[in-house]
């Protein structure tokens, strides 16, 4: 990796083993950060997730979705996955995405969601939306 590219790195958490091929030298292996071009692509994935989260936040502020939707998006979960984690049927989760119904949920049910997202019931009810 050139110094120029190295300066622009977005992620520096872990060096990985990369293989390569040089027509002269044959196969080589080196340990380094993910190269810059690929880091851009990883970031693209997270930017898209961020955009989806913003969309959901707007809908929650407008009273169209319950806070549960925010946590689903934050945890990159879709219905089938949340259903598998919580053991709550999909159609019930769908209902809980409606603000009116979410407000009336009992602590037991909220706790089940909370434990999957690893947060308290208070945090579940009040996602950080500005």
């Amino acid at each position: 990796m050139s110094d120029e590219e190295n300066k622009e790195l977005i992620y520096r958490n872990n060096r990985e083993l990369h293989y390569g091929f040089d027509p002269e030298k044959g196969y080589v292996a080196r340990v380094d950060y993910q190269y810059h071009g690929n880091q851009t692509i990883i970031q693209q994935g997270w930017d898209a997730a961020e955009d989806r989260l913003k969309e959901v936040s707007v809908k929650i502020s407008a009273g169209k979705l319950s806070p549960l939707a925010w946590h689903m998006e934050k945890n990159l979960m879709e219905l089938p996955m949340l259903s598998a984690y919580t053991g709550i049927m999909k159609w019930r989760i769908k209902r809980h995405l409606k603000p009116g119904i979410f407000k009336k949920l009992k602590p037991g049910l909220l706790g089940r969601y909370g434990s999957v997202f690893n947060i308290t019931i208070e945090e579940l009810k009040n996602p950080p939306i500005n």
């Binding site: 977005i10 992620y11 958490n13 872990n14 060096r15 990985e16 083993l17 990369h18 293989y19 390569g20 091929f21 027509p23 044959g26 196969y27 292996a29 340990v31 993910q34 071009g37 690929n38 880091q39 851009t40 692509i41 990883i42 970031q43 693209q44 994935g45 997270w46 898209a48 945890n75 990159l76 979960m77 089938p80 996955m81 598998a84 984690y85 690893n118």
Partner: protein, 340 residues
């Protein structure tokens, strides 16, 4: 829970791909020097499938490697190693007790996990990806010692965190899956392993009678890429393209969608058995992998600065994919009838 300290003298070595890395490290633990590419090649890690009707992280799904556990299972099979795979447990406690029993017996044990809640994992990779592998090689009180070949150094996880990742949910949920080696044969017949491994990979890459698997799938994807900007618009096309690049280059591929590792396997086998056909194929695989790298490089630039002439650019990329498919086809044609 007891607070006994159990540490197995296991050597953590970093690798390009999680499962072949774990497999090679396990073989090394039992005294057989086995490089990562050899484990990957014999275990038929190389693969390609393109399943546009299944959406993974909101984009078409494709895979550059075989289903989880193939590398470990097949390499053990082909080499005559006595190994055990427990596909799933019915409950959490059983899965953890079985692991503890193994550690008490001094058996380093591989586990399949999801990475979303893997606390030591680089945050940028923490998605709902359930096909990750690591080896548990020790326990101190509540802490498990983990060798994850993506990481530079060995790691630890608490009991609860380990349960969380072993019981991740979603596509390919691990359900507590674990695997280990019981006993090595007196002598490892590497030659037979290489032969069987190559034969299987040739079948999977060129002969599966389904149009989305192997080289055929690559060609379909190449043609699809050309249609993306018109069909989905520029933004979505860039996101779809990004999916190919992420799957090909993200953690645990060793680069270029495992093509470098496979090439290194062909090279090592060619040198070991002094086989010119394999060496020749290894060279071509290396150049194919470099072409993949070029594809991801151009693709990444394309995703970053949205192109002003998408149709032309995606046409070029599609053509490149077709060229890559042609090159890989050559590789597998070469090794199809190889005698070693």
């Amino acid at each position: 829970m007891d607070s006994k300290s159990l540490m197995i003298n296991y050597t953590h070595r970093q690798a390009g791909h999680c499962e072949s890395g774990a497999t090679s490290n396990l073989y090394n633990f039992y005294g057989y020097k086995m490089s990562e590419p050899m484990a990957f090649g014999i275990g038929t890690g190389i693969y390609f499938s393109y399943l546009p009707f299944i959406k993974l992280m909101f984009a078409p799904m494709m895979s550059f490697r075989n289903l989880p556990n193939t590398v470990f299972r097949r390499s053990a099979n082909y080499l005559g190693v006595d190994a055990t795979v427990i596909k799933k447990f019915s409950n959490v406690k059983d899965s953890m007790d079985a692991l503890d029993r193994n550690l008490e017996k001094g058996i380093p044990t591989g586990v399949q996990v999801g990475v979303f809640n893997l606390t030591f994992f680089p945050p940028e990779y923490r998605q709902h990806y359930n096909m990750h592998n690591m080896v548990v090689f020790g326990k101190e009180g509540d802490l498990y010692h983990i060798s994850d070949t993506v990481m530079e150094h060995p790691q630890t996880l608490t009991y609860d965190d380990l349960v969380r990742v072993r019981w991740a949910k979603g596509a390919f949920a691990p359900k507590g899956k674990m695997y280990w080696i019981n006993q090595m044969p007196k002598e490892l017949d590497i030659k037979k392993g290489v032969e069987l491994g190559i034969k299987k990979s040739v079948y999977e890459m060129t002969k599966v009678p389904f149009w989305l698997i192997g080289i055929k799938g690559m060609k379909v994807m190449g043609r699809d890429i050309k249609k993306w900007p018109k069909k989905h618009g520029n933004q979505k096309a860039a996101f779809y393209l990004g999916q190919i690049l992420r799957m090909a280059e993200d953690f645990g591929t060793g680069g270029a969608g495992f093509r470098y590792i496979y090439g290194a396997f062909l090279k090592e086998s060619g040198q070991k058995f002094e086989n010119a056909v394999l060496l020749d194929a290894a060279d071509l695989m290396g150049r194919t992998a470099n072409k993949w790298r070029e594809f991801t490089y151009i693709g990444a630039r394309n995703c970053k600065n949205r192109s002003s002439q998408p149709e032309e650019d995606y046409n070029t990329l599609g053509d490149m994919m077709l060229e890559i498919a042609g090159m890989e086809e050559q590789v597998f044609k070469k090794i199809e009838k190889v005698k070693i």
